[in-house]
């Protein structure tokens, strides 16, 4: 019995904006189950009193002077865009028809 249902796999794929076929979903269910059961090794450790490490160095709130700087030229920025028009990036329709 997998720890993760097919619905969960499809939900996670949707959250990740990753299109998957039924066949791929089945394969991912198995792989995710394997990796999550492996990760559960960590439950051997009592970490109730341990603080999480988000940054290995003792640095926080790195600030700089708020001085405006010139950005990149628009034609450069759009050079790699798959579709653009009039200085804007163009995408397929956002609203449902």
């Amino acid at each position: 019995m997998s720890r993760i249902s097919m619905e969960q796999v499809k939900h996670v794929a949707h959250l990740a904006r990753l299109g998957i076929t039924e066949q791929e979903a089945e394969k991912m269910q198995k792989e995710l189950d394997l990796m999550i059961s492996f990760a559960e090794l960590l439950n051997e450790l009592d970490t109730e009193e341990v603080k999480p490490t988000f940054h290995v160095l003792d640095m926080k709130n790195v600030m700089r002077e708020d001085i405006p700087q010139k950005g990149l030229p628009i034609e450069e920025v759009l050079r790699n865009a798959p579709d653009s028009k009039d200085g804007h990036i163009r995408v397929p329709s956002i609203m449902e028809k």
Partner: protein, 485 residues
């Protein structure tokens, strides 16, 4: 004899004595690539035309008697996840097949300032996810010592190109061992700097709290020169550290008398091959002979590092790779009916299996209801692993062990089971989790394949790592052997 069997400092001197030109060096690189690249397959993109123009320009400046820095005119290869202005950067992914960067990574700017010559961009596992280069969407790089074997990964192209003599040196990146493991497999020197030592600006992010760019070279001395050139705080990377960059080469005194070495029993235990264990014990004897002392210690949480690493790195990757959505750059799926479908199809078409696997694991462990049990738990275990290192470094100068449990494996041997593949990195991953620096240097051979010695140091103490590595290198002959291609 290849020109690239000389050290940086020798080539520098010969350029200034006019015994050699930059054009000779660039010729050497492209001639060697012409001879061996069909076997090694290290490069994704070559930049030959610009490299030759630049070589000519530098030669004219040398002819005018201009003084230059140590790396002036030397041919380098750059891993393909480091963005280079107007030079295609793919991360070995289909999703960035035609990506033409509009700016230079900070390290690329620093190379330009040092006036190295970029020969081309080097193959890797897609988005640096892998240990063999078999996850490249374009080609599987081969190990120059035996082309049936993998070069390691993810910086496999970076290590193989140096070992094969296609470039003098290269840059790689290391998230869980991706510089040190291929350096070990290919018999070269690879260093992962302290987290924050080198700017990550322009390194396409895999796991931002673990990634570091570092040098791959033939010798320890060359490595020290290249690290010095790319290090330093950068206003474009708020995680780069404002600490002084010393002259790493000055640390290469050859003196390790009284050096205190810790050898974790977990690094010589279960799962570590006899060949790897014996080569490390022999290396410790060499260092002992030079006056260093070693003792066995414990890093008790080592066995949890792999699981914590896969949760954390995949979680960070799932967030970092959101930017590949077909909007601003890279591949976009045709004929999608709406924006959400466009995202999904683009990503389904553009990413390979391993990248998808990690995006799924990462998204799952960050998702509502699972965050505390997986992601946050792993961050807490990370604290325990970091404390293991702090405890040892309170009493010792460096930690030594093998870089990998075994020498390189055969192409195709580990592709069926992701967890077996991941096990290659059990000795390198804890170093990234703790943020400390680590190097791999050649320390032996097993059936004609190189073995690597890993030397780990304190935060920002690359100097002691280099001093130890250099003393060992000078007392041994491993770095003087070259693969026959």
């Amino acid at each position: 004899m290849s020109l690239f069997e000389h050290k940086v400092s020798d080539l520098h001197e010969r350029l200034h004595k006019k015994e050699l030109t930059v054009t000779d060096l660039v010729n050497e690189s492209y001639e060697r690539i012409g001879q061996v690249e069909s076997q090694v397959k290290a490069f994704l993109t070559l930049d030959e035309e610009r490299a030759r123009v630049k070589a000519k320009e530098l030669d004219e400046r040398l002819a005018r008697g201009e003084q230059s820095g140590m790396l002036f005119g030397l041919p380098i290869g750059v891993k393909d996840n480091i963005v280079t202005k107007n030079l295609r950067t793919t991360c070995a992914s289909k999703i960035l097949e035609n990506f033409d960067p509009i700016y230079d990574a900070t390290v690329a700017q620093k190379l330009n300032q040092a006036e190295t010559i970029t020969i081309g961009k080097l193959n890797m596992d897609e988005f640096a996810m892998g240990s063999s280069n078999e996850n490249s969407a374009y080609q599987a790089t081969r190990n120059p010592w035996n082309t049936d074997y993998v070069p390691g990964g993810s910086s496999g192209g970076s290590a193989a190109s140096v070992a094969a003599g296609e470039v003098l040196f290269s840059l790689g990146s290391d998230t869980g061992g991706s510089i040190r493991q291929p350096a070990a497999y290919c018999g070269v020197v690879g260093l992962k700097p302290t987290y924050g030592r080198v700017s990550r600006y322009g390194l396409v992010a895999f796991a931002s709290s673990l990634d570091q760019i570092g040098p791959i070279t033939r010798t320890v001395e060359d490595n020290a020169y290249l690290l010095e050139a790319i290090s330093g705080v950068d206003p474009m990377d708020s995680t780069s550290a404002n600490v002084q960059v010393p002259s790493f080469v000055n640390a290469l005194t050859g003196d390790v008398k009284g050096l205190k070495i810790a050898v974790p029993k977990e690094y010589l235990g279960e799962g570590v091959s006899e060949a790897a264990r014996n080569s490390v014990l022999a290396a410790l004897k060499v260092l002992e002979g030079l006056g260093a002392v070693w003792e066995e210690v414990s890093l008790p949480h080592s066995k949890y590092a792999l699981a914590a690493y896969y949760l954390l790195s995949s979680s960070e990757a799932s967030a970092n790779l959101q930017r590949f959505d077909g909007v601003r750059y890279g591949h976009r799926a045709d004929n999608a009916e709406n924006l959400i479908e466009m995202y999904k199809q683009t990503r389904a078409e553009g990413f390979g299996d391993e990248v998808k696997r990690r995006i799924m694991l990462g998204t799952f462990s960050l998702s509502s209801g699972y965050y505390d049990a997986y992601y946050k738990k792993a961050q807490k275990v990370r604290t325990l692993i970091k404390q293991d290192f702090e405890n040892v470094f309170a009493k010792y100068d460096v930690i030594i062990g093998p870089t990998t449990p075994t020498p390189a494996f055969k192409i195709g041997e580990n592709t069926a089971d992701p967890l077996t593949m991941y096990a290659n990195d059990i000795l390198t991953i804890p170093v990234n989790l703790a943020g400390v620096p680590g190097i791999s240097i050649p320390c032996g051979f097993s059936n004609g394949l190189p073995l690597g010695l890993q030397i780990i140091g304190k935060h920002f103490d690359e100097s002691t790592i280099y001093r130890t590595a250099h003393a060992f290198e000078q007392a041994t002959e491993f770095h003087k052997q070259f693969p026959k291609l």
